[in-house]
Amino acid sequence: MSAGHAPGVYAGGADVIAVLILLAEFGMLRQALARDQVRLYAAQSGLISALAVIVGAVRGLPELYLLAGLSAALKIMVIPLVLRRLLRAGRVGADLAGPDGDIARSGGMSLASTVLVATAVAAAGFFAASHFTVGGAAAPPAALSLSVSVVLVAFILMIHRRDVLSQAIGLFSLENAISLAALVIAASLPLVLEAALLFDLLVAVIVFGLLIRIHHGRAESLSTTDLTSLRG
């Protein structure tokens, strides 16, 4: 909140979108159906693209429109499509009842405690990050701190869930959180580099799909609870 007065439309709007992104992350954390988790991921990615358009308009960076388009095509269309395919191919496993993929019981802790832990961690991240005087006058004041919260909740999601799909979604939404931070502090990063990062995400998705398939083929389930032979 620079100079002590209320944020403008741009900063306020950006902060609202950042809050919505955090809420979507919490939604994924508590979601019982894998299908809905994928939908939430797509929605979160849509919010990122919207934020990119807003930042591009306000700060006069037209290449962000192109980036928003690329990112939307990849994260709203391609990735959810790939994930849904996998879900259908994975069909029924011991822990995946029903065609939609019921993953309610894949958590390591009870849902309530997980959400409590995630809330505490997100709050800690938010307040810790707001101590950093990074961001500058042009950046929305709370968005960077919120992106740190999203990063932390994404980690909780990956730690808490024991099905490979949720873990993969946790990683992809972690990437969304990084995108949020990047829009705040590095919006003018040259397009070619942003495109390289997106391309890299695409390759990562393909590899994740491949590994999920291998894992499913071997273990007949999408759970990671049997991935315990390597320790010590």
Binding site: V151, Q167, L211, L227
Partner: protein
């Protein structure tokens, strides 16, 4: 020189593409040739780097520091590719040697090497990140390629943890961009050279965040404690030549990324803060790895924890910051690439011959494998920093640098932990000796370890038959393939040269890179 830089990326890329449609045997030989020519190309870049390096074309950039890591990577690549020729031809149609798998193995190996060679050549922090991320993706698939349940588990953990780590490193890169754009204007594109040049004017908080996030993020790939947990799994379950590359080259390349951020942080914040961060991570890694080394039953897991230990040594040495310690760190990168690559390749022969990775079951290896057995033992000795091998020299320099820089307590702790790790390695080494050693046991190896050497013999007879079907001759007394012996021998020779008398060109390269790391060049 420019042509050599481009060829360094083009040759393995071409070998990767060619592997997809060449017949397996031709793909194998093309990959081995590609590995050896990359090593020659990297060595050819040394004089240019000593003279001050070069910039361009495009984002490519070369200085003494990058050439050291190129050498480590190219050497590992050459050894692993040549070794793989024998490794696949003696696999007898299982795992990797299954029809259809070999193409993917060779393409993946070459692409993996290509991405590892690309990372030190990138003069742009974002493209360096992309190169490191590509190494993760390709190597995760290589880890899974063996097709066992354990390999699938290791690959999943690896890709999930390493990608999460790299996401943090990307956040660090973004902060570096933010800091750079503050100092250099909005047109800044994350190029490394201008950022380093302007490092004194970077905003301190952003520079601090960038460095810590980069250490944590790339540290996941380096295997620094506490973000090392994927490492023992992936390194132990990957095919042995891939383990050698993962450990000898990939960890070093990730450490290279940390060193680049170290240079920037040092310019922006002064030496104290970045050194302390690396010292903390390094000591934690050494401590945990040394304890795990003491009681390790799986030979490849043991080597993996030894990698955590050696990466800890690199971090501690950089944290000391004295010139002699930094020279030791850079020499250690080269010596570790040779020694750890060697040890994994040797362990691959042992595991192949005995059909197990359990150390107690490998008793009698010295008798059954006349070359690989003793060479593996020598590689363990080299990893434990026994003279006259290169690691003795590098660790000696690092410890000396620690005392010189006044970090007496940390240097003393380093010596204690190194000794502890040596104890673990030598315990494993003695387990390989036949009981009672010499005389009686050598006369009757079957009695020395009931059952196992017999099985080993049978397996090696198969291996020898498979090998003699190809053009390479099988060694006498049961070595599976000459292709699996020569690279290890080459590694030992390199270790000996590094330890006894490093060539003058290399000394020049090291001192030039030390100047870069100290910000004095």
């Amino acid at each position: 020189m420019l042509i050599a830089v481009i060829a360094l990326l083009a040759v393995p890329a071409a070998a990767a593409a060619g592997s997809l449609w060449l017949p397996p045997r031709a793909a194998a030989l093309a990959s081995a040739a590609s590995g050896i020519s990359c090593l020659a190309l990297a060595a050819g870049l040394v004089p240019a780097a000593v003279r001050g390096g070069l910039a361009g074309p495009g984002p490519l950039r070369l200085d003494a520091l990058s050439v050291i890591f190129l050498l480590a990577t190219a050497f590992g690549y050459a050894c692993a590719a040549a070794y793989s020729v024998g490794y696949l031809s003696t696999a007898g149609g299982h795992g990797l040697a299954r029809p259809g798998r070999q193409h993917w193995y060779w393409a993946g190996l070459n692409l993996f090497a290509c991405s590892m060679l690309a990372a030190p050549l990138m003069g742009n922090l974002a493209l360096m990140w992309v190169a490191v991320e590509v190494t993760t993706i390709v190597s995760a698939l290589l880890v899974a390629l063996e097709g066992t349940a354990a390999a699938a588990e290791a690959a999943w953990k690896y890709v999930l943890l390493a990608s999460s780590g790299l996401a943090i490193a990307l956040l660090g890169t973004m902060f570096a961009y933010y800091a750079g754009a503050r100092a250099l204007g909005p047109g800044y594109d994350l190029a490394f050279a201008p950022l380093l040049h302007a490092s004194a004017h970077l905003p301190a908080t952003a520079a601090r965040l960038a460095f810590v996030l980069a250490v944590l993020g790339y540290g996941t790939k380096v295997g620094l404690v506490p973000v090392h947990t994927w490492l023992p799994d992936a390194h132990s379950e990957a095919p042995s030549p891939v383990s050698a590359l993962l450990s000898g080259s990939l960890l070093a390349v990730s450490f290279y990324a940390i060193l680049r951020f170290f240079q920037i942080a040092q310019g922006a914040l002064g030496p104290r803060f970045p050194r302390d961060v690396l010292l903390a991570f390094g000591v934690a890694s050494l401590l945990l790895a040394a304890l795990y080394l003491l009681d390790q039953r799986d030979v490849k897991r043991m080597l993996a924890y030894s990698s955590v230990e050696h990466m800890g040594i690199l971090a501690v040495g950089t944290g000391f910051g004295a010139p002699v310690a930094l020279a030791g760190v850079l020499l250690h990168v080269l010596a570790h690439a040779a020694a750890k690559g060697n040890a994994f390749l040797g362990a691959g022969v042992l595991a192949r011959a005995f059909g197990t990775k359990r150390i107690p079951s490998l008793r009698g290896a010295l008798d059954a494998l006349p070359w690989s057995g003793p060479m593996f033992l020598l590689a363990l000795g080299a990893l434990g920093a026994l003279p006259p091998f290169g690691m003795f020299r590098s660790e000696f320099e690092i410890v000396a640098g620690g005392f010189e820089s006044g970090a007496t307590a940390a240097a003393a702790l380093l010596v204690v932990l190194l000794t502890l790790a040596f104890l673990g390695l030598s315990a494993a080494g003695t387990a390989l000796l036949p009981p009672g050693t010499s005389g009686a046991a050598r006369g009757a190896p079957d009695r020395a370890a009931p059952g196992r050497p017999g099985a080993a013999r049978a397996r090696m007879a198969n291996g020898a038959a498979g090998a003699s079907a190809g053009p390479e001759p099988a060694l006498s007394r049961g070595e599976p393939s000459a292709w699996m012996v020569v690279p290890v021998l080459a590694g030992l020779v390199v270790l000996l040269v590094l330890g006894v008398h490093p060539p003058a060109e290399l000394q020049g390269l090291l001192s030039r890179a030390v100047d870069l790391l100290r910000g004095a060049a």
